[in-house]
């Protein structure tokens, strides 16, 4: 066997073992190892993901939401920002197509919309359905995945980027609403890249996270649902940077 043939053999061998090496070198080797979907493997995987994803005290991210709902005649694209301050504060600001803000805490949700310009507060303790919805979202966005295994069966769909599908168990309270939830993580595994919610009713919602910054200081103003009017009075336009291409959007101050 000459040198060329030997090199070819080495190359073929390397190509053969490449998937194994990738699995070993990857942080989520179990997921790639064929039968990585056994309950104990999934729990171990979730624990690792949770440790990585939930390792933040504050988070700011932009999002694009695509909604295919039975009630809408067309697909709706929603753009906005999410601010999370652990343990129990999520501010959800919708910038398009209408201005709408929600602050979610462990006990109440406070919401405002530009149309009515009124702040409405709803106690979660008196509204069990709403509360369940909010608890679910909080769990997904805050990275508490291990506790979700009590309600969902998880399957690894893809490993690069890591995508896991969660299907409600028969015993789960949400089985009448949720069909499945697919979560795709960023390459570095530190936060979500995409979440796809499929509902029993046929509705689906996809959320894409962009410009996510972990542990950045968050101004208290970001958790106010009603924006200050002063800025709008001074400036005819509000300028913000969003999107991976740093495209500049200009909005009317009103």
């Amino acid at each position: 066997m000459n040198m060329t043939s030997r090199k070819t053999c080495y190359l073929l061998f390397l190509l053969m073992i490449m998937p194994l090496l990738r699995g070993t070198l990857s942080g989520d080797a179990e997921a790639a190892a064929g039968d990585g979907n056994s309950p104990s493997d999934i729990r171990a995987l979730m624990l690792r993901i949770e440790n990585r994803v939930s390792d933040f005290s504050t988070l700011r991210t932009d999002f694009v939401q695509e909604k295919d709902l039975a009630i809408f005649q067309n697909r709706i694209i929603i753009r906005g920002r999410i601010y999370i301050q652990k343990p129990q504060r999520i501010a959800w600001h919708v910038d398009e197509p209408v201005k709408y803000s929600v602050l979610i805490t462990d006990r109440v949700i406070r919401q405002w919309d530009e149309d009515t310009d009124r702040v409405q507060e709803i106690s979660l303790s008196g509204n069990p359905v709403f509360r369940t919805v909010i608890e679910q979202l909080t769990a997904w966005f805050s990275g508490r995945y291990v506790q979700l295994l009590d309600e969902y069966a998880a399957t690894v769909i893809r490993e690069r980027p890591l995508e896991i599908e969660f299907i409600p168990r028969d015993t789960s309270n949400v089985k009448n609403i949720i069909k499945s939830i697919n979560v795709t993580f960023r390459e570095d595994g530190k936060y979500l890249q995409k979440v796809l919610f499929r509902e029993i009713s046929g509705d689906s919602t996809t959320i894409l996270f962009r410009n996510t910054v972990l542990n950045a200081p968050l101004d208290e103003k970001l958790f106010r649902v009603k924006p200050s009017r002063k800025l709008g009075q001074w400036m005819p336009f509000r300028i913000s940077f969003r999107g991976p291409d740093k495209q500049i959007f200009a909005h009317s101050g009103k």
Binding site: W92, D115, V129, T132, L137, V174
Partner: protein, 681 residues
């Protein structure tokens, strides 16, 4: 989760009022507003998983149901959520564990063991978790601790006071015997009582110094009389009668407590009577043996014979002032109120109350309402009766605060009626109208009216209903409202615990068999009425007993009336002072007031009796020392931290002081007025 959707329940529980509210929603303006709201909400996080909630309820009928749930939850007076089988506070930072125990709250030893075991468990908690115990057993232990400390303190002060008084006044070592008689009697009595009725409660034991202060009188009378005459055997014959009478009247007063149903009163009566008779026995038998031996350093001779000297005018002035004082006291006495709240006599330490305060701050329940209980032989029978009462109460102008299970889950009969009404409402053209309005409004917002198919698909409910228990959600509510005791079902309703409300509700509930009211205020009122009735009975028995015995002993109406002067003065001055300082009557000071009556009659009898047997000055001295010893015994209770002991001490001090002053000042003055003609001075 799906169970919470109104369509599962609401058609069955919707009243005519609810149908009217829904009817008001079916307008172009309301439906349009509602579509706009739904559109906005769907853009927010609620729209991710909550869209189906809107499809099933385009009008927001769920809110009617939620409002009802909210008021039901508030009616219990507690802010508690049940999460994963745990009681969780509204702030989400506290959890509560309710423990059942077979240890009665009155069992002191058991309470000690129980609380000790709980504290041992709590000590194992990590430092960042704090825990409070809230239990009646803690009150038992804490009261016991406070009273024990009070007993140690008061015994010490009283013993020092008695010894000092005897040694200073009598200047004779034999005076120590006078002190030892009640001390020995009280100790013996405690042991005898323990043998007879088990163990004495601590508050009864806490009155030991008072009983000693009372029973020391017999020894004092014997001692003073013997010292003044120098002849023990001769004097005993004279003083034995009034001393025995005094003991019998005082014991008789305590005996009146046997008529009560309260065990604590029985203990007090037994302990006191044994102490009194033991003291009497020792004073009349053992004490003279010691007094007849040895020499008296000095024997006091009576200063004069006959009536007390002094101008008649002074007697008239004294009597007038006394009469005016009593009239003023009598006027004020009508304002004194009876406070039945036994909680105010709870002397538990601050930590115990603080733990309860913390509990109420977190969980509410401080103003927990009253409960109306409706009973029935079967579940449906109880529910039907509950429905009738609910409808009856709701028709009243005052019925707003009444929270009934009937609002959430009425009987099958009522639910059938509701379901039929619901179906008729929608079949009467409202379904078509709503469909049209939704169609018109959705067009404006780029929405599809077909999305609300789940609502229209489940709009009608099949009648007649087949029964059923209402599923998981109603079952959870049922745990709060329905209790089963063998073959008996009890349905609970909640209402504001106010006197006026209770009276009105009693009127409604009274016409339904098997219903009753459980109310803290009503219970307190019932206790108050029972106690007040008992106290009236005691006071009456004590008064009759005192008057009859005094009359029997003195065999003279005028002398009997004179002897009663300290008793009347004691009662009226006590009530007058209480009125002046806004002090209410309570169980503790009522007991003390009745006991003070028994002591004051002794002073009256002695002062009236004194002329018959050459005991004038010795009687005054004996009465004075008796009063002072009682004042010491009762006065030390003013140092007690326990409110019941303090209250008893205060009442006895005021009552005995008033009785004593009237016996040594007013009785001689009245005697002078009655015995000498006007202008004889």
């Amino acid at each position: 989760m799906n169970e919470l959707f109104f369509s599962d329940y609401f058609p069955q529980i919707a009243t005519e009022e609810d149908i009217r509210k829904i009817d008001e929603m079916i307008t172009g303006r309301y439906v349009s507003e509602r579509m706009k709201t739904i559109y906005r909400r769907l853009l927010g996080p609620q729209g991710i998983l909550g869209a189906s909630m809107f499809y099933a309820d385009p009008l927001g009928i769920n809110l009617l149901m939620m409002e009802r749930l909210k008021t039901q939850s508030a009616s219990l007076g507690y802010q508690v959520n049940v999460e994963d089988g745990h009681f969780i506070s509204a702030d989400g930072r506290h959890t509560m564990i309710i423990a059942h125990t077979s240890v009665p709250v009155t069992d002191s030893a058991g309470s000690k063991k129980l609380i000790g075991a709980l504290k041992e468990k709590l000590d194992m908690l990590p430092p960042y978790i704090s825990a409070d115990i809230v239990s009646g057993h803690l009150h038992t232990l804490s009261n016991e601790k406070v009273i024990k400390r009070d007993i140690r303190l008061t015994i010490g002060i009283a013993a020092a006071g008695f010894m000092l008084l005897f040694l200073l006044v009598f200047r004779d070592i034999r005076a120590v015997l006078v002190f030892l008689i009640p001390a020995a009697s009280v100790v013996l009595s405690m042991n005898i009582s323990n043998l007879m009725i088990g163990s004495l409660s601590y508050w009864v034991a806490g009155l030991g110094t008072v009983i000693a202060g009372i029973s020391v009188d017999y020894g004092i009378h014997v001692f003073v009389a013997v010292r003044n005459s120098g002849n023990a055997s001769k004097v005993i014959g004279h003083v034995a009668r009034p001393i025995m009478l005094g003991a019998v009247t005082t014991a008789g007063i305590f005996a009146a407590f046997f008529f009560s149903d309260i065990e604590g009163y029985h203990q007090l009566a037994l302990f006191s009577i044994i102490s009194i008779f033991l003291s009497l026995l020792l004073a009349l038998t053992i004490l003279p043996q010691f007094l007849s031996k040895g020499q008296w350093l000095f024997v006091r001779k009576e200063a004069g014979e006959g009536r007390d000297r002094g101008p008649r005018t002074r007697a008239v002035i004294i009597t007038t002032v006394w009469a005016l004082l009593l009239i003023a006291a009598l006027t004020g006495s009508f304002r004194v109120k009876f406070d039945s709240d036994v909680v105010k006599l709870d002397g538990s330490e601050r930590e115990v109350f603080q733990a309860e305060e913390n509990f109420h701050e977190t969980w509410g329940g401080k103003d927990a309402g009253g409960i109306l209980v409706v009973s029935g032989g079967s579940y449906e029978e109880a529910l039907e009766k509950n429905d009738r009462i609910f409808r009856q109460v709701k028709q009243q102008a005052w019925g707003d605060g009444f929270r009934s299970f009937s609002e959430l889950w009425p009987s099958l009969k009522t639910r059938n009626e509701n379901a039929v009404r619901w179906n008729e409402f929608w079949r009467g053209g409202k379904e078509e109208e709503l469909r049209r309005l939704i169609r018109e409004s959705t067009l404006k917002y780029g929405l599809r009216d077909a999305a609300f198919t789940p609502f229209f698909r489940r709009l009608y409910i099949q009648t007649p209903l087949k029964g059923g228990d209402g599923g998981e959600f109603i079952s959870a509510m049922k745990e709060r409202f329905v209790q089963r005791d063998r073959d008996m079902y009890r349905v609970l309703s909640f209402f504001p615990d106010e006197r006026g409300y209770i009276d009105k509700l009693s009127g409604v509930a009274g016409s339904h068999e098997g219903t009753f009211i459980v109310s803290r205020k009503a219970l307190s009122r019932a206790i108050s009425e029972t106690l007040a009735a008992e106290m009236k009975l005691f006071a009456m028995i004590a008064t009759i007993f005192i008057v009859l015995l005094t009359l029997l002993f003195l065999k003279d109406l005028k002398k009997t009336l004179l002897a009663l002067v300290p008793v009347i003065t004691n009662v009226l001055v006590l009530l007058g002072i209480m009125s002046l300082f806004g002090i209410s009557l309570n169980i503790a000071n009522l007991i003390a007031g009745i006991v003070a009556m028994g002591l004051c009659i002794d002073y009256g009898i002695f002062m009236t009796y004194r002329y018959e047997h050459d005991l004038k000055r010795s009687a005054v001295l004996a009465v004075t020392i008796s009063a002072v010893t009682t004042l010491i015994g009762a006065g030390v209770l003013l140092f007690a931290r326990h409110p019941a002991l303090f209250s008893i001490g205060l009442t006895l001090v005021i009552g005995v002081l008033a009785g004593y002053v009237s016996s040594v000042v007013v009785i001689p003055a009245l005697e002078k007025i009655f015995s000498s003609p006007a202008g004889s001075e």
